[in-house]
């Protein structure tokens, strides 16, 4: 066991992937000498050279497009989008090219490209450094969309993403980059949680909280607080949003009968809406209350002095738990 921050765990995961496979490349804005604005690629250019860790111009469409071209010739590029809000200039390359080329060729063409996106708020930054754009990509057929929530998953999931033959949108909760936890870097890959599986991170009997990325920790804190009120709260870390591990989710909700989905992104047309619909289809007769959604309002992400009002927190999650029991 090694104690690592999430940023360092991702770094170690990429390092391992680069050591294992010379076709793995890292590219993005300031990923080389600087090591990325969050230092997630720290030291990689020094150890693997400028040919494998490529500092790019400010050109997100160019970065993803170039990565697609490299993948067409056998490389496995890992692209860093510096901040969530900068992924939008790359939208055409991701949505029209990266997601669809493999489908159009019925899988004959493989594009093993990873797009890493530091996501979410909570670091006192501006709007375009604080967004949660996951629903744009879960809505796009042909992409795997995942979100890690802790160092141990960061270490394994980034390696699974790089090994994956499909394009992967990889969300990293930036406010959790500095949180530390034990990581077993020696566990064989066969022992890792499969890439497309959710995980029960806290078992419970009365209510299920579904979260991913930055909100998993918030939900764990809410579950601990609810326990003091005698409520047994199960927390599921979805990990993979597309494909969604609906079997695990439905099993949990069918058992507890109550569910809230928690994410930072706006509730309206957010990823929680899809889960609520799916659970209604799968667990209708088991539900004691409607599936609730806890998330941001339908506004642009606010200036940092207001972000505490925007982001779901312990109180808002506990309020949802109360409403589930009061129904």
């Amino acid at each position: 066991m090694t104690t690592l921050t999430l940023a360092k765990a991702l770094n170690e995961g990429m390092r391992k992937a680069m050591e294992d496979d010379p076709k793995v490349l890292v590219m993005g804005e300031d990923v080389g000498k600087l090591g990325g604005v969050f230092r997630v690629t720290d030291g990689l250019q020094k150890d693997f050279g400028e040919q494998r860790v490529i500092d790019t111009p400010l050109a997100e469409s160019g970065i993803i497009g170039t990565a697609i071209g490299l993948a067409l010739r056998g490389y496995r590029p890992v692209c860093e989008i510096q901040f969530d809000g900068f992924v939008f200039p790359a939208a055409d390359q991701i949505i029209t090219q990266l997601a669809k080329m493999p489908l159009r060729s019925l899988g004959k063409l493989k594009l093993p490209v990873v797009v890493r996106i530091p996501c979410g708020g909570g670091i006192g930054a501006v709007e375009h450094h604080s967004e949660s754009p996951e629903a744009y990509f879960t809505h796009t057929a042909g992409l795997r969309v995942v979100a890690c929530s802790n160092p141990a998953d960061g270490y394994t999931m980034i390696q699974q993403a790089i090994r994956c033959e499909d394009p992967v949108i990889f969300f990293e909760p930036k406010r959790r980059y500095w949180e530390k936890a034990d990581v077993d870097t020696s566990a064989p890959a066969d022992d890792w949680t499969p890439f497309d599986r959710a995980r029960v991170v806290r078992p419970g009997a009365d209510v299920t909280l579904l979260a991913y990325g930055p909100m998993v920790r918030t939900c764990l804190e809410a579950a601990a607080a609810a326990e003091e009120d005698g409520r047994s709260v199960e927390v599921v870390d979805l990990r993979s949003l597309n494909p969604l591990d609906i079997d695990l989710v439905a099993e949990s909700v069918a058992r507890t009968g109550r569910c809230a989905v928690v994410h930072e992104a706006p509730v309206f047309s957010g990823f929680g809406a899809e889960i609520a619909a799916r659970l209604t289809e799968r667990c209708f007769y088991n539900l004691e209350a409607p599936v609730l959604r806890v998330g941001g309002p339908s506004t642009p992400y606010p200036p940092s002095r207001l972000e505490d009002h925007y982001l779901p927190d312990l109180d808002r999650v506990l309020d949802a738990v109360d409403r589930l029991f009061a129904f």
Binding site: A59, G62, G69, K100
Partner: protein
């Protein structure tokens, strides 16, 4: 308004003395593409095709000229007007027509269709400009191997920002990228003067990217002109923009030609087809007939095929 129709550049008014006869293989390929495109329009009229199509009528000589300058390891990225690009690269008209019609034997099981073909080292996409970053990545991967990436774009494509991100990266990283600009003076229905400020050459120059303009319609002449430049792209590993002054003899798609009769006449006057027919009547008439009949057979055979696997319920 009087419109004078100039003779195609690079030739004498009669054209006969300076123009060497095209090689039979080139004439066969030119006429295969011409009849393939005409057949598509005919199949649309007959209700045999769905969706839409963009034909390269008048521009067939460009990919034919380039075909022998490209090697097996080169990667070609094409656009919405890509049937000629494909046929000049792969002698598989059955597969292409089956792809467009969704019939058995389709290149991509009929999923890609006219504008999204992936076959060996050929990839097309209909969104303007988006192929250039991909081409730059392919070229980066091919750097040092002697192979290159060749991307076909149009004059309208230069309105897209992705073009400039790609040119910047291509020159910055010195990648073997051949950008072929089919400058036909019209972006769908918008003339160049209404959609482009400045010139393609100046835009390439802004990135220190080499630029060469081709005005000839002669396949052999174009090859001779471009061969050393293409060799330089490979050997020196650097991008090159080759801009063809060309004309679109047909509409953008089908029945959407907004050009005046004079403008259409001008485009027709630059059509290699009439020119070759006039200059080399003997081989032309024979090969023209043979290719027309060949494409008719292809169309009949492919039309009779069962739907591709993807199309079946």
């Amino acid at each position: 308004m009087t419109v004078t129709v100039p003779a195609p550049t690079g030739t004498t008014p009669s054209g006969a003395r300076r123009t060497p006869p095209p090689e039979p293989e080139d004439l066969e390929l030119l006429l295969l593409i011409r009849h393939f495109e005409l057949t598509l329009l005919r199949l649309f009229e007959a209700g045999e095709l769905s969706g839409t199509t963009h034909t390269c009528l008048g521009q067939e000589y460009i990919p034919v000229a380039l075909s022998r300058l490209l090697g097996d390891d080169d990667f070609v990225l094409s656009n919405h007007r890509g049937h000629g690009h494909f046929l000049a690269r792969h002698a598989e008209p059955y597969g292409l027509l089956a792809e467009i019609m969704g019939r058995e034997g389709a290149l991509c099981a009929g999923v890609g269709g006219s504008q999204h073909v992936y076959h060996r080292h050929f990839l097309s996409t209909g969104v303007q400009g988006e192929s250039l970053p991909v081409a730059t990545g392919v070229a980066l991967a091919l750097k040092g191997t002697g192979a290159l990436a060749c991307a076909y774009i149009g004059d309208g494509t230069w309105g897209e920002g992705a073009v400039y991100e790609a040119l910047n990266m291509a020159q910055l990283w010195r990648v073997p990228l051949l950008v072929v600009v089919e400058h036909n003076g019209i972006a769908q229905s918008t003339p160049t003067a209404a959609q482009m400020s400045g010139r393609v050459a100046a835009r390439a120059a802004a990135f220190d990217v080499l630029h060469h303009r081709v005005t000839s319609l002669e396949v052999g002449e174009i090859r001779t002109e471009l061969a050393p430049l293409v060799a330089m792209v490979r050997q020196d590993s650097r991008p090159l923009v080759v801009e063809f002054a060309t004309h679109r003899a047909g509409p953008h798609s089908k029945g959407d030609d907004t050009r005046s009769p004079e403008e259409i006449a001008l485009a027709a006057a630059h059509d290699w087809y009439d020119r070759y027919a006039r200059l080399f009547p003997e081989p032309f008439a024979r090969i023209d007939r043979e290719r027309r009949e060949l494409v008719e057979r292809i169309a009949a055979e492919v039309t009779a095929r069962p739907p591709s696997a993807w199309e079946r319920p």
